[in-house]
């Protein structure tokens, strides 16, 4: 560890720090629907679920890149969501939806959707109980 090393280390460390600071700006946050509404136009993550009392609008023939539905969160917030992409197939079955995007006036303009579906949770015992009970029903 002599001066050349130290110079290089300091140089590289400075570069890394600079990069992290530079990229720190582009972290976003998890928000609730109501707090996201206060941050209009800011990119946030919402964790919510599908509001099954409202219709899902998707017509692939007219426009395969337009999906809209309503989402509610555990704090009672509710918002319309617009997703300019195809409809994730398990949307109706999802238990939880992680959405990335921006709140814009009356709706949440979503860029990306991550679904948490019960069927993917083989380790979820409640779900297994349901499955096995259904098997019995269909056997009768």
């Amino acid at each position: 560890m002599k001066k050349t090393h130290i110079i290089f280390l300091v140089g590289i460390a400075a570069l890394i720090v600079a990069l992290i600071v530079f990229s720190a700006g582009d972290f976003s946050t998890y928000e609730s629907i109501s707090s996201a509404k206060k941050k209009q136009g800011t990119f946030v993550h919402l964790i919510a679920k599908l509001d099954k009392s409202e219709p899902i609008e998707y017509d692939a023939i007219n426009n395969p890149n337009y999906l809209s539905f309503y989402a509610i969160d555990s704090l009672g917030g509710k918002t319309k969501v617009v997703f300019h992409n195809s409809k994730p197939t398990d949307l109706e079955k999802s238990e939880r939806i992680v959405m990335k995007g921006k709140m814009q006036a009356d709706h949440f303009e979503c860029k990306d959707i991550l679904l948490k579906c019960p069927s993917k949770y083989k380790d979820d015992k409640e779900q297994l109980q349901k499955t096995i009970t259904n098997q019995q029903d269909s056997a009768y």
Binding site: K2, K3, T4, H5, F8, L9, I12, I16, L19, I20, S23, D26, F27, S28, T29, Y30, E31, F43, V44, H45, I47, Y58, A60, I61, N62, N63, P64, N65, Y66, H84, N85, S86, K87, T89, D90, K93, V98, K100, K111, L114, K116, C117, S119, K120, Y121, K122, D123, D124, K125, L128, Q129, T131, I132, T133, Q135, Q136, A139
Partner: protein
């Protein structure tokens, strides 16, 4: 109660061997550890013998456990939870192995098995290093087997056993009946997303990569434990190379899998799970280089210790990230937490953990704290060169390169660990808007540095290089690389405008650095090594790595979406101007194809012909015909069919598998993003036959029908018949009440196979038109169906990935280069060296370039 039809023996056998393996691994840890501290040779020998027997017992037990699980799954014994969760009757036999490692218990078992097998090699080959290295491996085995122990001590449940019974694990009314098994018709089965050839091959290779990183770790520990501080490097280096090769290939297999069978739209997405396995690899590569430096010059020993330890520590940390459910919402891979909750009194506070998470946490901390603790305690004693590295020396620049790799790993893992900070500090930080870009903008700088370093460094000599030497040797490769990059910039420019000029500039710089490295390493084999291929492993590996970089840069910069709604003439709400090209950029990537109606996609005209069922229940293939025509002559230049498929699972979830047309220089890649279930879309309407002469008019429910003309052997935009064919086309117009005119051209054709009817449709009016025949009075029989059925359509995405084969080719060359170094460092005989190279080469070429 006596339950009917259960097979309890295999489970009992399995559980017995789990316990035996656990005890044997404890005994072998004690044995090897004691042996490593004994100086009396006789005592050492007897402890060694004891420990070896225990370790072999443990290996045999692990094999028996594996076979038992396989047996249970293969026979569909759904009384076992593991079989119920992971196997099913319709599962093809080739996926039986895959269902073993789909579960957490199975993947820990796989890891255990690899440790055991690697342990056998260490016991046979490592001579005086056996005792300390094996004590580390045995200790890891204790932890791994504990994960599948399934033992209750009071309320605490240690490990989750793969042999638990379904009726004990889940509650349900059926389990109160003795014949409950007769109600369980089938298991849940392997997740459909995982029913893929890669699921059979990728996990074992990746876990071999994971498992093998313990060997350099073990040797580094042995160096400290025996106080022979520098001697461990020589025997550890071939193992580190082996590990780098297998882990690297394993990671990229994951990428290839994601690329060709999951609808992520690429081979790398900076997903936390991908990052978690990349980070140890980066540190391992850093460690490899410091070990080589140490062997040549005596520098960088402390760094070698640190990197050898950290590689395995980060393997454990990545296990912690992926297995404890902490990543939760950040990854497309789904995770759950398993195991019961346990409560502790900690500093007077009640703390609750999931037992499994706690055990994994203890595993990580035990290895981290003890290894790093020992390193710090011995830091003063580890010898280091007094003389400073010369800036004109190879070791100096190699060290800088290692450092860059290490810092990149730190950057990636720091970003990936955000969910951990959230858990620890209660924050709610999330990923940025464009996750890939947030990584790419940093990693592209790394690519520039690494490309340049790997190009130039080999031309330096160890210790000191005369200043004129470098310039003389490197001038030609520099010139060639600069010329190639310039030529590319002119004739095949990168089009990564999305993120602005800065990143495009960086991409060009990285492209130059990578090409430079390819050229410089290739020429070094001739200039520096005088064509001695035996010693060229390093240069070949660098060349492969650089080629992979070239492939990554081109394929990700010039990836092109060819499915866009624009061509359907459908309005687009989102349309921003691109800052670079000033063109309207189109973020909408889905295109709906109506059956039998061609649509333009990039250079292709694509038609959704039909769909068909596959062997497996619920799998549907969509036949898409791609036609490329000459722009002026309209002649068909090329035609191929892609069959992406969707898989509808029992619970009606759908998974989509892409299909790819691979060319030498690009891939056309497509997958279904939305589909309706055509089987439920029954059409109850019937064709109504009407008879019309040319020029006749009649009514349909919404207006009038006109038969304009009948054309023999039509040659128009839709059909291309020769005068010698036998085809008749009816040119029909439908004029609806609101005065809209729609044309249809149904056709009848007679060829050597018989009569073909090509129906036409008027979607706007939900009409199907059939050329049904000709009457005796030379009238035309038209079948008209006014359908209540939904239109058959499918929504898809399609991309063109240029030069993606360079990525795979680069990877293969890199892997083979590493194998060459490893066999040379391990001083294998020519026969075994050739065998290793040949099998690695054939395997890799087959898997990555020919298998699909």
């Amino acid at each position: 109660m006596q339950f009917e039809g259960e097979h309890l023996l295999p489970g009992q056998i399995g559980h017995f061997f789990v316990l035996l393996a656990f005890i044997a691994s404890i005994l072998s840890t004690i044995g090897f550890a004691t042996a490593s501290f004994k100086s009396d040779l006789v005592q050492k020998k007897s402890w060694l013998n004891f420990a070896r027997i225990a370790f072999v017992t443990q290996l045999v037990s692990a094999i028996v456990i594996f076979i038992t699980i396989f047996y249970i799954c293969a026979n569909h014994y759904f009384e076992y939870m593991y079989a119920y969760k992971h196997a099913s009757k319709e599962l093809e036999p080739k996926y039986l192995l895959a269902c073993i490692w789909e579960g957490q218990e199975g993947s820990f078992l796989l890891w255990t098995l690899w440790h055991s097998i690697l342990g056998i090699f260490i016991m046979r080959k490592s001579k005086e290093w056996e005792a300390p290295v094996m004590s580390v491996i045995s200790l890891a085995q204790v932890f791994l087997i504990m994960m599948i122990l399934g033992l209750y001590i009071g309320n605490i449940h240690i490990g989750s056993s793969p042999f638990t019974l379904t009726r004990n694990e889940i509650e349900g009314p059926i389990f109160s009946q003795a014949n409950y098994l007769s109600f369980i018709k089938d298991g849940i089965g392997l997740n459909v997303l995982l029913r893929n050839y890669w699921m059979v091959i990728h996990p074992p290779i990746l876990f071999l990569g994971f498992a093998s990183t313990i060997i350099p770790f073990g040797y580094a520990y042995a160096g400290l434990q025996t106080k022979r501080f520098g001697d461990w490097v020589t025997p550890a280096l071939p193992w580190a190379l082996f590990s780098a090769c297998v882990l690297g290939v394993g990671i990229m297999m994951g990428g290839k899998w994601a690329y060709e069978s999951l609808s992520f739209g690429g081979y790398w997405a900076w997903d936390p799970v991908e990052n978690a396995s990349l980070v140890p690899w980066l540190i391992l590569i850093a460690g490899l280089h410091t070990m080589v430096i140490f062997k040549a010059t005596g520098h960088s020993l402390k760094a070698s210790y640190l990197f050898a330890f950290l590689t395995f520590i980060f393997i454990l940390y990545s296990t912690f990230l992926t297995r404890t459910g902490i990543l939760g919402d950040t990854s497309v891979h789904s995770f759950t937490e398993t195991g019961n909750m346990v409560r502790f009194k900690l500093f007077g506070l009640g703390v609750s953990f999931r037992m499994m998470n706690l055990m994994i946490g203890v595993f990580v901390s035990a290895f981290t704290l003890s290894s790093l603790g020992m390193l710090i305690a011995n830091l003063k004693k580890i010898p280091s060169e007094k003389k400073e590295e010369n800036i004109n020396s190879r070791e100096f620049w190699m060290f800088i390169g290692s450092l860059v790799f290490f810092l990149t790993a730190v950057f990636i893992i720091a970003k990936t660990s955000v969910p951990v900070y959230n858990k620890l500090f209660g924050t709610s930080i999330a990923q940025p808007e464009d996750v890939e870009f947030s990584y790419n903008k940093v990693v592209i700088l790394v690519a520039i540095i690494v490309g340049l370093l790997s190009a130039i460094t080999q031309y330096f000599k160890y210790k000191k290089t005369e200043s004129g030497y470098i310039l003389k040797k490197i001038a030609a490769p520099t010139l060639v690389a600069a010329t190639i990059t310039t030529a590319l910039a002119i004739f095949y420019p990168l089009t990564y405008y999305k993120m602005g000029a800065g990143l495009l500039g960086a991409a060009y710089a990285a492209l130059f650095a990578a090409i430079y490295s390819v050229i410089a390493n290739a020429s070094y084999i001739w200039i520096g090594l005088k064509g001695k291929l035996k010693s060229a492993g390093g240069s070949i590996a660098h060349l492969g790595f650089a080629l992979m970089l070239v492939g990554i840069l081109i394929s990700s910069s010039n990836k092109e979406v060819i499915s866009s709604s624009m061509v359907n003439g459908i309005n687009l709400q989102l349309s921003g101007k691109d800052p670079m090209t000033k063109q309207t950029d189109n973020p909408l990537e889905n295109l709906t194809l109506i059956r039998q109606v061609p649509a333009a996609m990039g250079p292709y005209e694509v038609t959704y012909l039909k769909d068909s069922f596959g062997n497996e229940k619920g799998r549907r293939f969509y036949e898409l015909q791609f036609v490329r025509k000459d722009k002026t002559t309209k002649k068909i230049k090329e035609q191929f069919t892609l069959k992406p498929d969707v898989y509808i699972m029992k619970d009606n979830n759908m998974s989509s598998n892409p299909d790819t047309k691979a060319y030498f220089d690009r891939d056309v890649f497509t997958y279904i993003s939305y589909a309706i279930d055509n089987s439920k879309n029954e059409d109850t309407a019937q064709f109504k036959i009407i008879e019309l002469a040319e020029g006749d008019t009649t009514f349909y429910s919404n207006g009038i029908v006109v038969l304009n003309s009948v054309v023999k052997n039509p040659h128009n935009e839709k059909y291309h018949f020769k005068p010698t064919d036998a085809a008749l086309m009816a040119d029909v117009s439908f004029i609806s009440k609101d005065n809209m005119r729609y044309n249809a051209m149904p056709l009848i054709e007679i060829d050597e196979y018989g009569v073909n009817q090509i129906d036409d449709t008027v979607y706007a009016q939900n009409l199907y038109v059939k050329f049904a025949g000709v009457t005796d009075t030379r009238k035309i029989k038209l079948g008209i169906k006014e359908s209540d059925k939904l239109i058959e359509y499918v929504t898809l995405k399609a991309y063109v990935f240029p030069y993606i084969n360079l990525v795979w080719l680069g990877l293969i060359i890199m892997a083979l280069g590493i194998v060459m170094s490893a066999v040379k460092r391990a001083k294998l005989s020519t026969f075994y060296a050739a065998l290793a190279l040949l099998s690695a080469g054939v395997g890799l070429f087959y898997m990555f370039l020919f298998a699909n």
